[in-house]
Each structure stands twice: as C-alpha cells, then as structure tokens.
Symmetry: C3
Subunit: 152 residues, 3 copies
C-alpha cells in the first residue's frame, strides 16, 4: 500500500479531495452559527435554548440566511461526492499529471468561489458559473473514465 | 497504478460507478428546470427572476412536481453513496467477474427504473420495488465485504 | 487486487466503513416507519394510503419525530461521506495499524451514539458531543493525509 502513496497522481488526488471535503465539513458548524445568530431553526433543541418568547417565535420561522447556508451545504454534498468518486477513478486511468492537477485545482477553486458567492449572496451569475465550471470538470474526468473503461 | 486499470474487475466497477454518478448529477439541472417551468422555488434568486406578482406568489409555494424531483435526488444521494463505497470495497474481495457484473448491473438498472418511476409518478410498487432491489444488491455486496474483512 | 485485501489496514478500513454505511442505510426504512406510525409525511403517496380524512390532515403536517429521523439521516450523510473519503486516503498513508483502528472505532462508535441520542432525544450534550468526537477523528485523519500529501 505504501507504493500507492509514493505515486504523485494519488498524492495529488489525496490532497485536493481532502481539502474540498474539509471545506464541506466546515459548512455544518457554519449552519449552526447562522441558526443561533439569525434565529431561524428547524430544531426544537435550538428553540428551547432561548427563554424569550419573541426569540422563540423567530426561531420557528425559516430564516433566508440560514436556508442559504443549508442549501449551500446540500449543493456541496451533491457535487463533491461526484467529484471524489469520479476523480479517484480518473486518477487510475493514467492521465498526464499536469492535466489531472488542472482538473483537481479548477474543481476545488470553483467550489470555494461557489461557497463564497452563495454565502455573501453575490449577484448572479457568479454562483451559477462556478457551479457549472465544477460540473464541466467532473464531466471531463468522467468522459476519460468511461472511454478507458468501455473500450480499452 | 496503471496495473489497477488493466484489471477487469476494477474497470467494471469504474464503468458502472461513473454511469450511476452521472445519472445522479443529472438530477440537479432537472430540479432547476422543474423549478422554472412549474414555478415552485425554495430560492429567492429564482423568485426575483419573475416580475409578474402572480408568478412570484406561485414560486413561494412548494410545488409537488418540484418536491418530487428534489426527493428523488436526495434518495439518489443516499443510495448511490452506499453503493459506491461498498461496491469499491467489494471489487477488492475478489468475487467472480460475472457475479460482480450482475451486482453492478442490477443496481444501476434499479436506480434508472427508480428515477423514471419517481419522476413520472408511476403507480406503486414500481418505485418501492426498484428501491428495494437496489438496497438488496448493496446488502449482498456488504455481506461479502464483511465476511472477508471479519474472518479471513 | 487480491494483494490489497490481504493487507490488514485495508481490511480494517473495509470493515468499519461497511458497518457505518450499513448503519446509515438503516435510516431510510426507519424514516418510512416513523412516517407511517407518526403520520407526518412529505409525500402524497403516503397520504393517499390513508382513507380517513383525519389521518390525511395529520399526514400533511410535519411531525417532530419524523423530522428528527430525517435530520439524523442527513447528518449521517454529511459526516459518513467525509469519513469514508478521508479514511480511505488515510489508510494509504501507512499509519500504525493500532492508531488507525483507534480512529476507525472511535468514529463508528461516535456515530452509533449520535444516532441513539438523536432518535431517543436524549438530553444534550450527548448528541452534540458524539457529533464533535466524530468530527475530531475525521480531522485527525485529514491532518495526516495533508501532511503526507503536501510535504512528502
């Protein structure tokens, strides 16, 4: 197994996959933070933490900021899983290291831009574009996996 | 690493895992499409895209068609992740290639049938059955992984 | 490929990853069970299964028990995916087997405690603590992957 970790391609994939998964994990405490500061909970545990009845009422409404973080997390889940699965298989198809690095870096970059433009509610198409760039990167890797797996 | 990709089992897994992940990725633009055509949004960005106040009001209600695509996507996430993780480990336990192919093909087939019967709202038990078939396939692979990992 | 499965580290990862994914898969039928017994559905299919109009009305409300199972499932998805991805990469960085086993066992244990304390609505901080323990375990593995992938 040590052989695999001395392989540059596998190291490159490990690095970018870990970075982007850590970014995704960061969304969970962020949702909690927004729930407490913006007072929009789905969660009775959170509601009970406030004794003030005015605060409680607010907690039961869905708050647009909280919903935005939650949707951003969900979008991360959907897209990062696809990247990790297809990226790992792609790393084994033996692409050029520079081409693979380009794919990994563009994807990870697009997800960071996506998160920032989602959370700060930047004007479109910043969010839409970064999402599409991530999708295209994943498709490009999937294309190579399929051509390798289907015809070789 | 090139060795792994010259392995038939790994190629077979790569092919079916990529196909089923691509199918899952297709659900995201589909949700967007339904949100715009059926006018049921969770999302202020979408709402603001409509100037007509009648359209806006519709956008704020949850639309049953939109909710169906969204739930179908969520169901994909839950089931396809389990398949990818357990299927990859299963491929390394050294099953017969034909047995493994059967597992992969039945699972991928069941997910396509599940999506079609969810989206077209086909009468039950088409959706329920295809879901159960996918689960059973995954359990069958998990059983082999566990017997290999626990006793060998 | 058989070589990999004769590797103790890979076997250990396979075992714990499969167990925790199976636990996650168990949440789906549980949500269905709660939907039927507690009568809180998101889903017209479920609603139509009841002829009684009183039951139907209940089905359309969101039920706190059902919502709790659903959120627990979502929390599983988010955390178990991160563990599986980072844990697999971690297994290839060549840690001591005993250290790796400790990480895997603590994570899997924390997720079981999390599920039980979520579903039985045990008083906090049981749920919060088990969630944090899982996160710390994953971070610890991610740290090793990053130091291996960045500097070696």
């Amino acid at each position: 197994m040590a052989d695999l970790m001395s392989n540059d391609m596998f190291l490159a994939f490990s690095k970018y996959a870990t970075i982007v998964v850590l970014k995704m994990m960061f969304m969970a405490p962020l949702t909690g933070y927004f729930r407490i500061t913006r007072k929009g909970a789905q969660n009775w545990h959170f509601v009970q933490a406030f004794s003030n009845s005015e605060d409680r009422k607010k907690m039961l409404q869905t708050n647009p900021d909280v919903e935005r973080v939650r949707r951003c997390h969900q979008n991360d889940l959907e897209n990062i899983i696809s990247f990790v699965v297809i990226g790992l298989l792609y790393a084994f198809t033996g692409p050029d290291l520079s081409t693979a690095l380009l794919h990994f870096q563009v994807f990870v970059g697009s997800r960071f831009i996506h998160t920032v433009s989602y959370l700060l509610a930047l004007p479109q198409p910043s969010r839409g574009l970064s999402w599409v760039v991530g999708i295209i990167t994943t498709f490009s890797m999937a294309y190579r996996v399929l051509t390798t797996a289907l015809f070789l």
